[in-house]
């Protein structure tokens, strides 16, 4: 089937098998391997991407379902070809919010959606929101702190 998807602001037209998942399309067809597959049954959240600004599990969507939509992956977060990190990326770096890095793209994109909808979350709200993403390395503590730090900075910029 022919699809036309905007990924990180760049349009991609492709012909894909109906059963190809969005995750495999991003990884194998577009080479965007920052989207990771941890469980392929929609629990771990490592494959989280944004579709029209809302977080989705790219392992549970078929590529054809993204036809006509805008997708943002981790590769689309930093500005100017990775020179300037997104405030969430910067905060994860400063607060040691990542270890092996495998779950990190999913956490970043979930957190982007959180701060879009709730720019001033409490620690409890961050923990609750991120409970849809699994991390096996960090114990979550520094991830939560990083999200709170980024939120503070992003509010500062906005204000």
């Amino acid at each position: 089937m022919d699809i036309d998807v905007s990924v990180n602001g760049r349009r991609s037209a492709a012909s894909v098998e109906p059963r190809m998942t969005l995750a495999d399309f991003l990884r194998d067809e577009l080479g965007l391997t920052g989207t990771h597959l941890g469980c392929e049954h929609g629990v771990c959240g490592a494959c989280t991407v944004l579709m029209d600004g809302r977080s989705v599990r790219s392992c549970l969507l078929f590529a054809v379902q993204a036809d006509g939509h805008e997708v943002t992956t981790v590769e689309g977060l930093a500005a100017s070809d990775d020179e300037i990190l997104h405030p969430l990326q910067q905060a994860f770096h400063e607060r040691h919010g990542l270890q092996c890095g495998f779950c990190t793209p999913g956490f970043l994109l979930s957190a982007v959606e959180l701060l879009d909808t709730n720019p001033d979350p409490t620690e409890g709200e961050v923990r609750s929101w991120l409970s849809g993403n699994l991390c096996r390395c960090t114990g979550y503590q520094n991830i939560v702190e990083a999200v709170l730090l980024a939120a503070e900075r992003m509010r500062g910029v906005a204000g």
Binding site: H36, H41, E75, Q89, L108, S128, C137
Partner: protein
Amino acid sequence: MTTRLFGEPVARKEDRRFLTGRGRYAADFEPKAAHAAFVRSDFAHARIRGIETAAAQALPNVLGVFTFRDLEGGFADRLPVLVPSEALLAPRTQYALAKDEVCYVGEVIAMVVARDRYLAEDALERIVVEYDPLPAAVDLEGAVASDAPLAHLDMTDNIAGRLSEETGDVETALAAAPHVFEWRFQMERSASMPLETRGVVARYDEREDRLLLHDSTQAPTGVRFGLAMLFGMDPDRVHVVAPDVGGGFGVKVIQFYPEEVLVPWAARRLGVPVKWIEDRREHFIGSNQERGQIHRVRVGVERDGRILALDDRFLHDTGAYCSYGLILPIITAAQLPGPYKLENYRYELRSIFTNTVPTSPYRGAGRPHAAFVMERVIEHVSHELEIDSLEVRRRNFVGPDEFPYHVGVTFQDGGPTIYDSGNYAAGLGALLAKLDLQRTRDEISAARASGRTVGLGFGAYVEGTGIGPYEGASVSINPDGVVSVATAHGSQGQAHETVFAQIAADELGVPLERVTVTTGDTRRLGFGVGTFASRTAVVGGNAVLSASREVKRQAAGVAARILEVAPDDVVFEDGAVHVAGAPGRSIPLGRLAMASNPTRYAFGKDAEEGARLSQLAYESGDRPLPEGTKPGLVAVEYYSPTSGVFGFGFHAAVVEVDPETGEVRVLRYVVHHDCGRIINPMVVEGQIHGGVAQGIGGALYERIAYSEDGQLLNASFMDFLMVTAAEMPHIEEVHTETPSPNNPLGIKGVGEAGTIPVSAAIANALEDALGVPVDRMPLTPEDVVDLLSSRED
């Protein structure tokens, strides 16, 4: 002046690529490779009567379907036993593809290679395996009963191995003890469960006779030598790279998992790159697990709470095979005494085959069980004798002036267990200060008065870390002045690129950003052991120190020749070598690197230094490379410790139970930790956080559940519950630093520390909350409700 980096919480060098989606994990290599997929046993124990593969083979885009009969030479032998021992009575390992008997659900039976994973899985559905199901041994105690089903057809019982050892005289001490108690403790199975599953990607170049493997392994060097032997290849033609690895926690340590052998075998046989990325269901049934043990302990106690004798007889569930021999129960036995003096201690371990996924180390590796048993003993003694459990601990501690302390039993490396250093009373004191013991107790009393079910518990441990046999490092100074470090250790997130860079940067006087670190690539360093057992910082770190010092010695020699001073008169600072006390007389490291290699190869002014030195040498009748020197500034050095080094710590947990639902909330979690000198406190804290999370998961949520006939009942993330951010408390930490006298950096390992005492601390807190003994872990909400009703009975 270059700031010393050792001990500083410097942010990680490796972060940027992970944050921008540019990490490279096994699945990210060879996007156009053919994909392998595997037929796995549906039965816990069965004879294979036949395998029908023709329909799969006939599908378009299927490149090959393979069963045991297709394997030849060493590939048709059983996979190796990695830790042999005389006490291992039945060293059973599996075949790469099952021969005629399968011994657990998930055992690999056939391999398909197709153009992509979708097509490979289509083909799997066309393969029919005919089984004769056999009775399965699943329950650990059931497997040692006289009428137990046999896990292996060719055995007469299920005992993989047995070992006993005694220090002191346990029976005499028990006979003389005023109190003798007997208790049973059980820990059930869990699993490492890294977010990235395993993966193997192989490319064989026939014209060059060269094999390149990208393997999400914790130990690429062993895989390389093993494959070179299997293939009959020169090891220099076999390259194994552990790229970015998405968590390991033990499950990715070297096994020679079947897929690690079969994927390169298929790549060579088919002449195409072959890739296998494990899916999560495969990981549950095809990657190793750990933890199942049952202990029966007899303890003799003095009236003041001092433990006079401890006799532990325990069963260890090794699963269907035992590639790691008896190492797990041996670790349990050696580390069971923890921070306490057990002058009369005896263990008898039996490692038992069951028709379940094989076991091998998972973060903690036998030690969480040890800490659970010992800390529950302490609490029981406290209750029986009505002495505060903290006081019981203090009365049994090894004293700060008793190091090096001989535990009296054999360590996992085969030598004696000798604690190098420690100060347990000070550690406990630091924990209690952080906890604010009196305030915490007051708060718990107030909570109880208002009807809440709240409790406080403690756990303690001593962890043997930094075991040998050795590790190496290559350190070189490049012509641009960058210091290049390579280690055979792969990284699964432990910040090796940062902590190794800190060590080299300090030694050579360069800023952190001028050090690059390559990990886990046998093309850069072929000899090494691996990343496991909390050993990398200790063994690899001291190797980096040693190689850095050797390069420094070389650079000082070259600088001395150029500057016409003695090598002892130069200092390394700010990326240059300076004459001490003579400001302005210095040479940048990059120019030194060029000068050390007197040949014509480089661009720029600095490159002339080598030629100039060469001419000077000839003019004075010397040679361009003076006696005892080598071209370039490069050193490969190895560090081989005589034994482990022993970190320690104390944990406190405050828990609240919802009596209606059985839900347990961890209200506070406080950690004291001592791993000797700390290279990077930010990294150490991160390791502790992650370890504690796995510990809390292991205590309250994560149980690998088998049915009576050996089917894994919870083989998905929907059913095997791991902790999320919502369940985790904010961890409070306090550190002490008792240096190790055994290595130049004074460090000890930290990787597993966070996990070890958590089940013990949570169990003790639950006992305090519920008023009933908690001698089994994990405890799910149903178990908690059962415990509550047992109290009401």
